[in-house]
Symmetry: C2
Subunit: 258 residues, 2 copies
Amino acid sequence: MMLFIIGLGLWNEKDISMKGYETVLKADEVYVEFYTSKLCGSNLKKLKKFFKKEIVKLDRKDLEDYCDLILEKAKDKDIAILVPGDPVIATTHIALMIEAQKIGVEVKIIHASSIISAVCALTGLHSYKFGKSATISYPYKNMVSRTPIATIKDNRNINAHTLLYLDLHPKPMTINEGIKILEQVDDGFLNNCYAVGVARAGSDFPTVKCDKIKKLKKFEFGPPLHALVVLSPKLHFLEYEFLRTFASAPRSLKKFVE
Amino acid sequence: MMLFIIGLGLWNEKDISMKGYETVLKADEVYVEFYTSKLCGSNLKKLKKFFKKEIVKLDRKDLEDYCDLILEKAKDKDIAILVPGDPVIATTHIALMIEAQKIGVEVKIIHASSIISAVCALTGLHSYKFGKSATISYPYKNMVSRTPIATIKDNRNINAHTLLYLDLHPKPMTINEGIKILEQVDDGFLNNCYAVGVARAGSDFPTVKCDKIKKLKKFEFGPPLHALVVLSPKLHFLEYEFLRTFASAPRSLKKFVE
């Protein structure tokens, strides 16, 4: 028998693939986790209704400390774990796959849409120009991580964009909060940076706004999830034109077109 | 009315999302393009059978030189264009969206799985550590592009992985061919690089193999599509463990774990 890790995609229950949908219907037991990401256009109740099946929600402990309980079941049954987005972007899933292999449980991944590629359609930014990504975390014991700023600097040095995820726990961080946190460890570097904020990717009502990052701090993006892209120092003309057309970018961005 | 650009996902007709499937069924006219990527587990005939609808194949000219013909139709009808992978990774789609907006046609993107995120589940490499990507093209008038090697160097300088796409035209390039082309413009830099080759992502029979890039040149990956990831100089322990477990990486890779 087998463990299926099935991506739910970006927004709601209909973002699952046909392959994923059929696999859920056939599975002996179905679980879902909203720990590594969120499915903001849906919830456990809607998922149960959509699949007409019992679905059990797993929390961080189930996934990380007690994953052997699930894995043992997958020795005799087909077990499906639903995860928002595309699976195995999170370290949690990588560890789960390695553990499964150790005890002889076969794992199959069923892919779905992810912010990693969807951000290109939303911002018009060229996929091949995205550099490393990072997460803006809530301060821990009043300490703010310098990793996101370091990543932006690394990327801008090679003319790459930076996709920044925003912390999900205890609640999804807004772009506005994220920028304020970045500013706490900024040495003035951000003053010259433009960025695009993306809210509700995959929904019928996304908000996409490009401006100087300092100005985005006051822009109202509406409900979650939010993500932020800090632009490369130089832009392709089509990137500029797309941002003007679909993200109300200011004309001042034009001077960065190469 | 509206233009829908709908992702078909990674492998075959069942990789489309439920949302995409329903939209195809409701659309007045349905097109598909296999120019910007390929759907190796399917073809036009299978798609028609799956959706029980007429589907017209578009070539490069239809998309780039005569896109206004399609866009005009979308003024009065719901038009769906199916594309392999997740839409708008290709510049072709970005230009199409900008043209649509100019003549007042609303565009809606329906996302699907993409190699950009799927490569993480296949290789276990951390998503946030991927740098810029590049395409290995067939030589043009005996000239080989230096862009892929330059991108690998840029990325390795910031300890990032490099996803390399392989040229699709006139036929999908193999990993073996791709490495041979890279070697033509290599100054010895590749001798120290490890890489992971990925074939048939999203299918039930992917091949994933990690080794020194020079050794992968002789490895048989089987049918397309192929993609290649050149590793960052330093690896996380879980990356190493995953590559050992699922990509038969050599033990010698361990010395790069930080």
